[in-house]
Amino acid sequence: MKLIFEKSVAGRRGYLNPKADVPVKGEILSQYKRKKDCPWPELSELEVVRHFTALSQKNFSVDGNFYPLGSCTMKYNPKFTENLAGLEGFAHLHPLFPQLPSGEELVQGALQVLYEMEQLLCAMTGMDGFTLQPLAGAHGELTGVMMIAAYHKAKGNKKKYIIVPDSAHGTNPATAAIAGYEIISIPSDTHGVMDLKKLKESITSEVAGLMLTCPDTHGIFNPQVDKIAEMIHSVDGLMYYDGANLNAILGRARPGDIGFDVMHINTHKTFTTPHGGGGPGAGPVGVKKDLIPFLPISRVVKRNNGTFCLNYDYPDSIGYIASLYGNFAILLRAFAYILLLGKEGLKEVSNMAVLNANYIQERLRGRFALAFDRICMHECVFSASKQAQRGVHAIDIAKFLIDKDIHPPTVYFPLTVKESIMIEPTETESKQTIDAFIEAMFEADDLSQKNPQAFADLPQTTPICRPDEVKAARELNVNFFAHP
């Protein structure tokens, strides 16, 4: 398909600006002016509409396809939350209004959303305070680790290390490093959980904290989590809860009750705000009491008269971590979702997500090697090791599934399992959809036995097949105008 720039015809217009209704013409001295016009494409509105409609049709999406991408929680995004985000009173609200003198009175509705959202998240997680500012999960991680650093600094603790299990998402070690820490990586034991003996050996007074995804990326809830917290706390280290998989334990356990001091939530996972082809997300961060003074500014405060304001006066705060108050329109969607589900609905989310994952795990285990033979939580991890012996790898199975109109599970992550296939069905998929997926996986296994060579040419139903990624990196072309 042609690029939009290749469809451009000089002189065509896709949108007309309002007429200049003022009697003056602004001038800029030529030394401040650009020399060449910006070469954005010139198309009619319909041509633009056709272009992006055609592009959209080249995507798999939750609305169109089963999308069991492990660790990403690709569940249904309810439509009413989209409408709410478009409400004029929110969509057109300027973010600097509350910073005008008495400007908070202009944004009471928006501040109330933020305040009530914080309350809901505290109740759900057992944390004592929240900031909604972080703009994505990894941004929340960085905010959290910076608060850990601020805590140690305030106490005069000399800390150097953050401990991260080897099954963690890459964002954990990357975040800790960017916040100025060195990383200690702890391997998993044969049961798929962090090796406690190795952990014990690594704990010294220089450990600032430990980052744990729980359940972890093996889909396992670490039954020793409280013992781990005890070990870390014994050296005044802090426990960071990576909330990527919070959707598995809603109403079953709260990070704040089981030893965690700081956590983030990925609203696009647990609270099903749309993934948008890779964001925008939101990564609210919760803390226990001791860390509240370090929360970023501003913070939303409820006044005695029931109205809301922003307070910037927190001398121990880590400071500004985002320009404004978070991805408001995303938080609003999550807020609406939580209100609709309520207490019982949220529990149902975890119950059904875990049921579906275990059902898949049980039905596939005869054909595919199970990474860890135990009850799983919201996702299950297999290895394509048996198929690989026949020359068919995890990526080949992924491409096979694409031809069945199924978005492949996550492959080659977690890094701890060879040829890993990580499946997260989520609670919104029906048994019929899940059964069809299982059948497709069986067919993939059948084909790997009968005709393993066939996989090399898959997928066949998509506009392209197996792009050359090496060429992309070697002959780098990321800008049309540099390679016309």
Partner: protein, 445 residues
């Protein structure tokens, strides 16, 4: 009952039998009883109608006013086709394009977005977006630190004070040195900047137009910086680049910006769109996702995530950034806006903003005791000096239905009598005249 969960009790029973457990509770056996929640005190669920009514009520509590507030976030008109197209669920319910065969829509759009940002800034390469303008500036600072292996950063006082605070917050544990210079006559203070430059300096951070709305040509500063091996980062306002000298023309090394003005609603602060562009030679230190062109097995042109070896999911603690999710959908939204506007539309829109702001300037100048700073040229935003504390005036103007401007005293304590006024194409002649009239009344009383 949750309408998004399909299972019937019968199906649940069947699945439990297959798994070989008696109840759903058995699946949670790893969560030992002593780890159970101390409470789970949330409200009961509601119907869609009830939630919608409640949130509509909250939305109605906000007051939009006729706004002359900018400060880095601008109220531009968004053509209907933008939201219609970006609301296609094939875009918004997809995820990061890990499987290129079933994500060519997102991938090609991101390649086109990168190219459109390059066209706008005239830089050689751009990534597929960062969170917002402020965090993009922080990422650029870190990039300059890595590239130069130095640790001092000079920030011009005309850079958004919010952005400067962000850069400082993030680097507070990293032992960097900062120099901050005030502006003179609205523009960057060359003398002061040059005085601070030394062999430790990694980068100078500038903004054009700056927080006061002033336009500058930073070519001289950039040339001087390069002589000393120092990189220059420019934070820009996309719409202004329809007319203004591009950062590439000035010689900037890294360009960042807030892309909200490219078709994204104000949304009380987000989601917005951070962008970053640089010279080709620096591409391997640029953070975030990047989409590149390639061919498939049959030689057909296609697009993939590329240079992923810089990123956290491969490099872990050695990655260029911890960023994972960016703001792909906002990038697609901006791309649609840029494609509708086109070459002529952008130029026209920038001129229109300039015209309206100039008219507002001339109109406000006529009010007794109001001075409009004219020591430097401006784009669609300018500083107004009032005879009294600007806060008092803005508060009084609010009661008359106008968000009159942003009080500079909030971030610049010695500028209490100043406000910055932004005028986009959405402000009509009539609104501007009414605004001036109201301001005159407020100042009289």
């Amino acid at each position: 009952m949750v309408p998004y969960i399909p299972h019937t009790n019968k199906e649940i029973e069947e699945m439990l039998v297959t798994i070989g457990v008696k109840s759903v509770d058995d699946l949670f056996a790893d969560i030992k009883p002593h780890l159970a929640p101390k409470s789970f005190n949330l409200p009961s669920g509601q119907s869609e109608f009830e939630v919608v009514e409640y949130i509509k009520k909250l939305g109605a509590k906000n007051k939009l006013l006729i706004s002359f507030v900018g400060g880095g976030f601008y109220d531009h008109y968004i053509p209907a086709a933008v939201s219609a197209l970006v609301s296609r669920s094939e875009f918004y319910t997809a995820y990061t394009p890990y499987q290129p065969e079933c994500a060519q829509g997102t991938l090609q759009a991101l390649y086109e977005f990168q190219s459109s940002i390059c066209a706008l800034t005239e830089m050689e390469v751009a990534n597929a977006s960062l969170y917002d303008g402020g965090t993009a500036l922080y990422e650029a600072a870190m990039m300059a630190i890595r590239l130069t292996k130095r640790n001092k950063i000079i920030m011009d006082g005309g850079v958004s004070p919010i952005y400067r605070k962000i850069v400082k917050t993030y680097t507070s544990n990293l032992h960097f040195e900062f120099g901050e210079t005030a502006v003179v006559h609205g523009q960057s203070d060359r003398e002061e900047i040059y005085r601070l430059l030394d062999k430790k300096t990694a980068a100078i951070i500038l903004q054009n137009p700056n927080f006061f709305g002033a336009i500058d040509d930073h070519s001289d500063i950039i040339q001087k910086a390069h002589e000393l091996g120092i990189l220059v980062i420019e934070s820009v306002y996309p719409i202004s680049l329809g007319l203004l000298k591009t950062p590439a023309e000035m010689g900037a090394d890294i360009v960042t910006g807030e892309g909200q003005s490219l078709g994204l609603p104000l949304n009380f602060g987000g989601p917005y769109l951070g962008f970053i562009a640089t010279k080709k030679q620096f591409i391997r230190q640029m953070p975030g996702r990047m989409v590149g062109e390639t061919v498939d097995k049959k030689g057909r042109r296609c697009f993939v995530n590329t240079l992923q070896a810089r990123e956290q999911h491969i490099r872990r603690e050695k990655a260029t950034s911890n960023i994972c999710t960016n703001v792909s959908l906002c990038a697609v939204q901006a791309l649609i806006f840029m494609s509708l506007l086109g070459k002529e539309g952008l130029k026209e829109l920038a001129q229109l903003n300039l015209d309206k702001a100039e008219f507002a300037r001339q109109t406000l100048e006529k009010i007794p005791n109001v001075t409009v700073k004219r020591s430097s040229p401006t784009f669609n935003e300018f500083a107004v000096c009032l005879p009294v504390d600007a806060s008092l005036v803005i508060e009084a103007m609010t009661k008359k239905g106008f968000a009159a401007g942003f009080p500079l005293g909030r971030y610049y304590p010695d500028m209490k009598n100043y406000m910055i006024v932004a005028v986009t194409e959405k402000r009509t002649k009539e609104e501007i005249l009414n605004y001036a009239k109201a301001l005159e009344e407020v100042l009289k009383s």
